[in-house]
Every structure is written in C-alpha cells, then in structure tokens.
C-alpha cells in the first residue's frame, strides 16, 4: 500500500504541474493586453508601458509562470486587475456559493437516482424497468440550462414560490438556501439520470452472481437480496461516477450560475474572461482543476483501501 501511495502521489504532483503549465499557456493565448484594457483606448503609450511594468507583464514568459506558481504555492493567487483585491479572497467568496450548490445537487442526484436504479434493477426487463430507463434517457438529453429556465417559469414566474435568480448571501441563511433550490434541481436531474442508469446496470451485474442465487435459495425475495447483498457490491462504479459528478457539478455549474445570476466560481471565471482579468481566470481555473484532480485522487485511494486488488495496477 505504501508503494502504491507513493506512486499515486508522484502522479498527483506531476498532473498538477502539467495542469498549471497548460492553464498558463491557454490564458496567454487570450487576445488583448490587460494593461491597455484597464486604461482604455485614450491612454498614452508610456502610461500603458509603466502599468505593464508594474503588473509584471514585461517579464519573459517562463519567469512570469514561475512567479505565478511560486505565489500559488505560498497562498498568494495574485491581485485582480479589475477589482483591485486579492484573487484568493475572491475565490473564497465564490466557493461559498459553488460548494453548497454542488453538495446540494449531488445529494439530490443521489436521492433521486438510488430509488429509481433499485426499482428498475428489481424489475429487470419488465415494463417498470423499461419505463424508468426511458425516463432516464429523457433526463440525460435535457440541457440543464433549458430545464432551469422551465423551472423558473413554473416555480418563480407562475407559482411565485422561489426566487428566479440572485443570491442574498449567507447572512440570510433561509433566503440563501431558497435561492439555491432551483439551480440545484436543474443541475441534479440530468446527473441523477446518469447515476440511476449506472446503478441499475451495476446491480444487474451483481444480481447474476452465485451469492445472490444462494441468498434467493435461502428464501430472500428479489428486492431483499438486492437491498442486503447486491447494493453494497454495486457501489464501486457508483462511487466512481459520484466522484466525476462532484467535480462536474463544482465546475460545470458555470452555465447554471449564469441562468440564475449566482455569484459562484464558474460565473467569476466567465466574467473575468470577458473583462480580460487574466490573473483571476488563471488562478480560479487552477483551483477548479486542482480540486478535480484531488477528488479523483481521493476516490482512487478509497478504492485501493476497499479493494486490495486495485493496488496491483
């Protein structure tokens, strides 16, 4: 296990390093000079040059990369050009919206997927299964931002039950939670459809195993055997998908945050791109990618802890 851990840790460090180089390079490709963007079109060339020097934009590329990474490693993610505040603080503010949203969406997705997947698996090949799987097909095909618009139309415009957008901040916990409900549902439904399908097929596979036959022979009903024996063994693929979905929900909420005008991490990146606030883009994307890589790493470690066979790879 120790060797496996060491191996994975080296791979983790390498991935993070390569990711930072990639992000830095792509951001460098973004056209437009931040200094001239900040000063406007009427600025004197000397003023622009001075600002460029002040922002460190005149340094050679490799040096600027090292400067950035060095800062990130010591917790300094740079200063936003447009907001004149530390990027780390901005990201921290936005995470307070994105993280609860992702967690809510994930919990909802599991709550919807678990009963559907088990229901379908218990009726494999029968009409109940077919109907449920048809429903999940539609769920997978829904663009979540369109589904979000329909939710707004129904719950905010027609029924006036929930807010159509915006975020009041956590000083008003109840209102804050309320404003995250519709976005969470919009994010969760397509994910739940995928999860339900994975769960069903994982259960279907374990249901064919000998120990299930034994359990059935001892007198357990199909759904009892499913709950007591098959479910636990079907969890590995489900956990994999959950890990992937969590990172997707954290990062992929960018469009949903736009629909609901939520001040989350995705919207921060989106706005920073349009304002040419490159240091914000760079650092925020790095934080997201690092989070995704870390979640994957933890999921892999969990497997290795559960199933010794996986350490052999």
């Amino acid at each position: 296990m120790r060797r496996y851990l060491l191996h994975r840790l080296i791979a983790l460090g390498l991935s993070l390093a390569v990711a930072s180089v990639l992000i830095f390079s792509v951001v460098e490709l973004v056209p437009g000079d931040p200094a001239s963007y900040m000063l406007g079109t009427g600025a004197q060339p000397e003023t622009v040059a001075a600002l460029r020097q002040q922002m460190g934009l005149d340094l050679p590329l490799p040096l600027r990369y090292l400067h950035w990474v060095g800062g990130v490693l010591t917790g300094d993610l740079g200063h936003s050009f447009t907001y004149k505040t530390p990027v780390a603080g901005m990201i921290l503010d936005r995470v307070q919206v994105s993280l609860p949203l992702a967690v809510m969406a994930l919990a909802l997705s599991v709550a919807i997927a678990l009963p559907i997947g088990m229901f379908a698996a218990a009726r494999l090949g029968r009409p109940g299964d077919t109907i449920m799987m048809g429903a999940t097909q539609i769920g997978i095909s829904l663009p979540n931002f369109w589904f979000a618009m329909l939710l707004v139309l129904l719950f905010a415009v027609r029924l006036r039950l929930l807010p159509a957008g915006g975020f009041p901040g956590w000083d008003h916990p109840l209102a804050a939670l309320k404003s995250l409900i519709l976005p969470a549902i919009a994010l969760a439904l397509p994910q739940a459809a995928i999860l339900a399908r994975v769960l069903r097929s994982a259960l279907a596979e374990t249901l064919g195993q000998d120990y299930i036959r034994t359990a059935r022979a001892k007198g357990l009903s199909r759904s009892q055997a499913l709950r007591r024996h098959a479910l636990r063994n079907a969890l590995i693929p489900v956990v994999t998908i959950l890990g992937m979905q969590f990172s997707f929900l954290l990062a992929g909420a960018i469009i949903i945050e736009n629909v609901f005008y939520l001040p989350g991490l995705g919207r921060l990146i989106f706005q920073a791109i349009t304002q040419r606030d490159l240091i914000v883009v760079q650092s925020a994307v790095l934080v997201l990618v690092a989070a995704v890589i870390l979640v994957t790493f933890l999921v892999d470690l969990t497997y290795a802890a559960i199933d010794p066979r996986l350490r052999q790879r």
Binding site: G125, S141, W146, L153, F248
Partner: protein, 270 residues
C-alpha cells in the same frame, strides 16, 4: 430492443432532414424581420410561432439544426481522427513509455472541467462556430483514445493476432487490418454518444454567447435570447429546447439501439 433503434433513427433523422431541407427551403426567410409580428404564438401561418424579431421559429429551428449538427459532427471527427490512432498505438505498445504517456495525457485532459476549458478556449480564440468545434473536439480525443485502447487490448491476446505476428505482420498493419475492423462497432456507438454530447455542449456554449455568432441561428443562442421573454411568450423558450432534447434523445436512443444490434453479447447488460 429494436424500439430504441427505430425511435432514435426517427428523432435524429428528423433533425438531419430539417438541416438538409433548410439549405433549399424554409417556410420563411430567416433574415426577414417583421417586428409587428413579434412573439406570435404557434398558428397556421407560423407553425411554431415567431420570435422577438418576428422571425418564423420553424425556419430558425431548421437553420439552427445545421449549426448544431455541423459543430457536433466535426468535433466527433476530430476526436475519432486523433483519438483512435492514439488508442491503437497505446494498445499495440501496451506497457511501454508511449502507452504510459498517452494514457496519462488522457487522464490529464479528463481532469480538466471540460466546459470551463471550452469557454477558455473560445475566449482565447474568439467566439465562433469553428472555435466551438475545436473546444468540443479536444475533449472527444481522450474519450476515443480510451475506448479504442480498452477494446483493442483483449483482441491483441487472441490467437489469430498471434498468428499474424508470427507471419511477420507489423504492429501498424495488424492494428489497421485486424484490430480496427473488430472494434469499429464500439467506435460507432461511442461516436453516436459523443455526437449527442457535442450537441448539448454546442448549445451550452452558444447560450453563453461563445458559439456561432449572429446572424447564424443556433439553438443555444435562441434560448439565451428567449430567457427574458419566457414569461410573456413561453413558446420562444420551449421550442428551441425541445429541438435540442429531441435530437439528443434521438442520438442517445440510436446509440443504445446500435449497441444492441451490433453486439449481441451486450444485449440487456445496460
């Protein structure tokens, strides 16, 4: 299940047909604005109603289908064109540094939140349909590489491949003559799935303004423009959304149906 094949073919066929037909005929000219006729509900004159500029929604949907299909299809071609050779090489040289590099590179791309990077790429290169294709295509590469390698590996252990190697055939020739034809059906199924995901991704990018630019109609942008009008004229938001759902659903069903039809061993496993 034959039903998914029929329904899938029908739905996705409808979208393709609408796109093709739009090159020669649409119910109305989409460049023709008629502000007095704006936001009309569906009627005999405008089957799907009109949008905020009085344009015929059916015509917009038909022309928009071109954008969605073209972007997603070319992105699949990019993903297959680069991903399949990479996967074949990785499988042929399993365990070598080449295999290791390709697969770790794959893992790395998978680690990137695809939507954020797609937005970053389109922002870096400027918003356009072509850049949307590149952004979506890049994320198709590792998917095809992984599927190709995964399905090619078991075939490499079969007796007839050993026979071919003994007969003196090289890795490249074996990959092309024996491996590729045997995994073609899996690649076709994956291609259908990536096609449907591409349509969703294109819609998302156009929705935030980073896809095809006006005046080229796209379903995602139609939805973005409809958002503020959803309470006065719900149909402008419902129609493009339904077009996306029907097309994506059709492709998903087609993928499922094809998998069952092409590989009897997988039947009923999902």
């Amino acid at each position: 299940m034959r039903l998914s094949l029929i329904l899938g073919g029908l739905f996705s066929g409808m979208a393709v047909l609408a796109a093709m037909l739009s090159f020669v005929w649409t119910p109305a000219e989409i460049t023709q604005l008629a502000i007095p006729d704006k936001l009309l509900p569906p009627s005999a004159a405008h089957w799907l109603g009109t949008d905020q500029l009085g344009r015929d929604m059916l015509s917009m949907i038909m022309v928009g289908a071109r954008t969605s299909i073209a972007v997603a299809l070319v992105a699949v071609v990019i993903g297959m064109g680069l991903g399949v050779p990479l996967g074949l090489v990785a499988a042929a040289r399993k365990g070598s540094w080449l295999d290791e590099t390709i697969m770790r590179g794959n893992d790395l791309i998978f680690a990137f939140p695809s939507l954020v990077i797609a937005i970053l790429i389109t922002a870096a290169l400027g918003p356009s349909a072509v850049n949307a294709i590149i952004a979506i295509g890049i994320f198709n590469i590792p998917v095809f590489a992984r599927v190709t390698r995964g399905s090619a590996l078991p075939i490499w252990t079969l007796d007839y491949i050993r026979a071919a190697r003994v007969a003196g055939k090289g890795m490249t020739l074996i990959s092309l003559q024996h491996i590729l034809p045997n995994i073609a059906n899996i690649l076709i199924v994956q291609g259908t799935i990536q096609f449907s995901l591409g349509i969703l991704a294109e819609a998302g990018l156009s929705y935030v303004g980073l896809g095809a630019q006006p005046p080229v109609p796209s379903w995602g942008r139609m939805l973005a423009e409809a958002q503020t009008m959803i309470s006065i004229a719900p149909h402008v938001a419902i129609v493009p959304g339904l077009a996306i759902v029907v097309t994506v659903l059709g492709l998903n069903l087609l993928g499922d149906g094809l998998r069952d039809a092409l590989d009897p061993r997988l039947r009923g496993s999902r």
